[in-house]
């Protein structure tokens, strides 16, 4: 089970729009800070890279309690690309909720649907 739950204000987003939603902390965390990132990821069988990323800035500082909610908003770039899957790799968007902690950080990663503007009209 993820340490976070997320509720986006919409299911589908267009380039240049501001993605917004609410993160709910699902379990107590010894966080130093909690921040949300939008990542455009590249993935092959052996490698994962981040092609573009933007963060919300710290939404919370210090220990986090279960049930705590954090609202965030992050703007997509105007030339944001959609997802694509091919035979040997894929490109996709994710919302990464990161709890910065001593030792290993805790992440909650969620799919984000970004479509070309011409398909959103």
């Amino acid at each position: 089970m993820s340490a976070f739950q997320i509720a986006l204000d919409r299911q589908r987003w267009a380039p240049g729009e501001t993605v917004s939603g609410v993160v709910t902390v699902a379990e107590p965390l010894k966080s130093r800070t909690i921040e949300v990132f939008l990542n455009y990821r590249e993935e092959t069988d052996d490698y994962k890279e981040i092609g573009w990323s933007a963060g919300s800035g710290p939404l919370h500082e210090g220990r986090a309690e279960a049930g705590q909610t954090l609202r965030f908003s992050i703007q997509l770039p105007p030339d944001a690309l959609p997802a694509h899957q091919s035979a040997n790799g894929r490109l996709y968007w994710e919302v990464d909720v990161k709890s910065d902690e001593r030792g290993l950080d805790t992440h909650g990663r969620f799919a984000l649907d970004v479509q070309p503007a011409r398909l959103m009209a």
Partner: protein
Amino acid sequence: MTGLADLLGLRRTNAFGVSISPGQVERTGMVAVTVAVWQQAAIVGEGFDLGLVCTEAYDFTSHSYSSSYGSSSRRVTAHATAYEQWQPLDRTQPTQSCWFQVADWAPFSYRGSALSYTWEIIAREHRSGDFDRVAEQPLWVLP
């Protein structure tokens, strides 16, 4: 940027050439291609055709073993054709015009660290037992 000709070791030619308009197109959009044949006598291969090709470049880990150095692994880039459409050309025509439509499900142009998609229009003279001769133009495909 590595094109299909470089990947396949094809030979570029001065016997024919291609030009395209526009150089950037959205998926589902049309690309106009003009093929000019400058040296008809130099086109001696069995086939002469025109392609719209997207090449996928993807990184993977290559593992190897040698008795001297033991196991090793390194990051390498492989290539595969992600999309292609071909149509025949007439070598006797000094110029000919063709159209391609980019499929809505095809990849869009992308240059990444582990994964890239590169598009080009390529005119190809196929020669059995010899390197194909090619002329190409890059194309940028938007989502």
